[in-house]
């Protein structure tokens, strides 16, 4: 109101000004402290510039000043809702570099933890995606189930969100005696809630209207931008590191790579990206059940292969694994000392977010929020 503008009205023509709207960093549905500078024509998005860095915590610089095992807690804090999965590529890479052979039971526990965490991550992704569309109730159903997974992780590692459970060469502790039963109970409950959510939300007419044909990401654009995970698979590309280059013991399990099929609209729309996550939960349940069955029952010393002193040879290497959000990789340079010279993370969310301006132009602001939700970003990982 402070600024006075004069308009000359030419009848017959309607002038409209574009409005620059600042979405975030404090906004209910930017999934953290993301700031989007949006240019609107009415309600239609004409331009969008994401601004990041509000959660920058110098992960890579910190990692240069601590020893190799001490990096793991920092890795936990990157994508803080799938910490187990974050630790996976790092410990795998370090073990490969040092030539450590970990016990079989450790491998199974790692896979089970990673898949449970994948379920927890997808539950949050789906729940908040529903929340973005205004559906409040599935959010709480999913969080109720996630609580069971978090409680299990608390029993394992003592932490509810940031675990530091995977160690280079082993694990922090062996599992508790009722671990297998707990896992099977979680799987049962997760399946039940997922079925419910499919009814309540995924095939809901309003939800389909809101998400189908919105934010279409063609497969070639997704590949060109380097997208991975459900964002890429939603576009119909069956690329999953667990299948493509089976790390750890993923080649022992029977599971499918879920891809979007464009059931409700065009291939690669928000609905497809979301349904990939929903169906991946079922696949993760399958993996967990198989792993529980195959896992050696007798207790084992999970720290037996943990090296006393870690001094990797000089060199550099890249290790990667399938995070719930996509391909998470670490590029580590070692100069032979106990501290890494450089740790560079290929952050999944960062790469996936970069596609947002490309696919959200021409949609309405309500759709922009849905597209952002369907990318499933975590700002802790983007800013690091």
């Amino acid at each position: 109101m402070s600024e006075t503008k004069t308009f000359e009205i030419d009848f017959g023509k309607v002038y409209s000004e574009r409005m620059r709207l600042n979405v975030g960093p404090q906004h209910p549905s930017t999934h953290g402290v993301l700031r989007l500078e949006v240019e609107l024509e009415g309600e239609v998005v004409t331009e969008i510039v994401p601004h990041i860095g509000y959660l920058h915590r110098c992960f890579e610089k910190h990692a240069e000043n601590v020893t190799y095992p001490q990096v793991i807690p920092y890795i936990d804090r990157m994508d803080y809702i799938s910490s187990m999965n974050n630790e996976f590529p790092y410990v795998l890479g370090m073990e490969k570099l040092l030539g450590i052979e970990v016990p079989e039971k450790v491998q199974y526990i790692r896979v089970i933890c990673a898949e449970l965490n994948r379920i927890a991550n997808h539950q949050i992704a789906i729940a908040t995606f529903g929340l973005d569309s205004g559906a409040f109730t599935p959010f709480l159903y999913y969080f109720r189930d996630r609580e069971m997974i978090i409680t299990l992780f608390e029993k394992l590692s003592g932490g509810r969100l940031l675990y530091n459970y995977f160690w280079i060469g082993g694990l922090m502790h062996d599992v508790h005696p009722t671990f297998a039963e707990d896992c099977l109970e979680i799987v049962k409950q997760v399946r039940k809630t997922n079925d419910e959510a499919l009814d309540l939300l995924m095939y809901n007419k309003i939800f389909v209207e809101r998400t189908a044909n919105i934010g279409i990401l063609p497969a070639d654009v997704a590949i060109n931008y380097g997208c991975s995970g459900p964002v890429l698979r939603g576009s119909g590309v069956p690329y999953d590191l667990r299948k493509v280059e089976p790390y750890s013991i993923y080649d022992k399990f029977d599971f499918d790579v879920v891809v979007g099929k464009g059931e409700m609209g065009t291939l690669g729309d928000c609905w497809d990206r979301n349904i990939v996550r929903v169906r991946e939960i079922y696949e993760s349940c399958k993996i967990i059940e198989q792993a529980i069955e195959q896992m050696p029952k007798e207790p084992c010393d999970v720290r037996q292969a943990v090296p006393k002193r870690i001094k990797p040879p000089v060199g550099e290497f890249y290790c990667r694994a399938e995070n719930p959000k996509g391909e998470l990789g670490f590029y580590i340079i070692s100069d032979g000392s106990p501290k890494p010279t450089r740790v560079r993370a290929r952050a999944t969310s960062f790469v996936n977010l970069s596609v947002l301006p490309e696919i959200s132009k021409g949609y309405m602001i309500a759709d922009l929020i849905m597209i952002l939700g369907s990318l499933d970003i975590v700002l802790g990982e983007i800013d690091r």
């Binding site: 109101m1 402070s2 409005m19 209910p28 549905s29 205004g134 109730t137 159903y141 809101r210």
Partner: protein, 350 residues
């Protein structure tokens, strides 16, 4: 004609009676709002397998009072850049519109504050008042989110009001009156005579029932849009435009918007009840149809729809603004016209 007002019967027509009449709806509205807030908290909790508020009083029944006290204690913030007169006025305009509608709501055959022969038209006109307040508040807030919310509200209003108007028109044709009491009197004699079942008439009225039920559904969907409830809470769509038109409001002014929303929820439920479900008529003909029982029937029927609105809110996602307009203009409006013609035809041959 017998008196429609027990207050006039008791006190005669004088200034005390007028003031009492103006305040009686408030005596209903305040407890109702508390019950509705508690209902919202508890029903959402049951739907989501939570307990809801449990600490204030037995099973948390005093929670609404605690919330009102909290809102009263809050600092009344007026941001520096707002247009102060409009910003401060908007919540009260909103509430005035919501409260003014109670003037013609017949709670029982013996109590309607003002019985005017165009009551339905009056309610329809006064309920559009809220949108003025929303645009006022949204524009005066000097906030882009508020402005977007206000513009959405304006677009939403012209969309939902037309199918609603057609539905009201159809019932007015069926009943042959815009007078609410008369519409209700016509629906007397058991639930079979309610307008949702085609109104009173011979058994041949069966063919008109699908059309009246359609009109009922159209009115109900439209009323959800009128009260800005899910799935049509587009003007306040929290995940997109933060809180829409009331982003900048806090404390008591926010509470007024909130109060008006709950008040509106009851108004639209009451209108549905009057138009389609026989108003204060007992479902069993003359059984339990005394003036006090009538008030009971009326409030319970209306509260059923308040409950339905709460239930829907915690079940459905939100529509996009253009989808709302698509639904109202291209789906509801043609269907409403067809139903209107069918009902008008029935009214004519009757």
């Amino acid at each position: 004609m017998e008196s429609l007002n027990f207050v006039y019967d008791l006190l005669g027509k004088n200034i005390v009676a007028y003031i009492l009449l103006a305040l009686l709806p408030m005596a209903f509205l305040l407890p109702y709002a508390l019950v509705a807030i508690l209902g919202e908290l508890k029903i959402s909790a049951w739907i989501q397998e939570r307990l809801g508020p449990m600490r204030t009083g037995w099973k948390g029944v005093l929670q609404p009072i605690a919330e009102v006290v909290k809102l009263l204690q809050k600092e009344d913030i007026t941001p520096a850049a707002v247009n102060k007169p409009l910003f401060n006025l908007a919540p009260f305009v909103m509430f005035a519109g919501a409260y003014a509608a109670y003037a013609v709501i017949p709670f029982s055959s013996k109590f309607v504050p003002v019985n005017i022969n165009i009551g339905l038209f009056y309610v329809f006109a006064i309920s559009a008042f809220g949108v003025i307040a929303i645009v006022m508040g949204g524009w005066a807030s000097n906030n882009k989110y508020s402005l977007l919310g206000a513009m959405r509200a304006a677009a939403q209003m012209i969309s939902y009001e037309i199918p609603i108007a057609v539905a009201i028109l159809a019932i007015a044709t069926l009943a042959g009156s815009l007078d609410m009491q008369e519409i209700i009197y016509k629906q007397g004699g058991g639930f079979w005579n309610w307008n949702i079942f085609g109104g009173p008439g011979a058994i041949t009225k069966i063919w008109v029932i699908p059309f009246t039920v359609t009109l009922f559904l159209i009115y109900f969907i439209g009323s959800l849009a009128e009260t800005n409830r899910v799935p049509f809470d587009i003007p306040e769509g929290e995940s997109e435009i933060v809180a829409g038109y009331h982003t900048e409001y806090s404390g008591m002014k926010f509470a007024m918007f909130f109060f008006a929303e709950y008040s509106n929820m009851f108004i639209v439920s009451a209108i549905i009840t009057i138009l389609f479900l026989g108003g204060w008529q007992s479902p069993f003909g003359n059984f339990l149809n005394g003036p006090v029982w009538q008030a009971f029937w009326f409030v319970s029927k209306a509260m059923l729809f308040v409950f339905l609105q709460i239930w829907l809110r915690w079940t459905l996602p939100r529509l996009r603004v253009d989808q709302l307009m698509y639904v109202t203009w291209k789906v509801m409006l043609p269907i409403a016209f067809v139903a209107f013609f069918a009902v008008a035809l029935w009214a004519m041959i009757q």
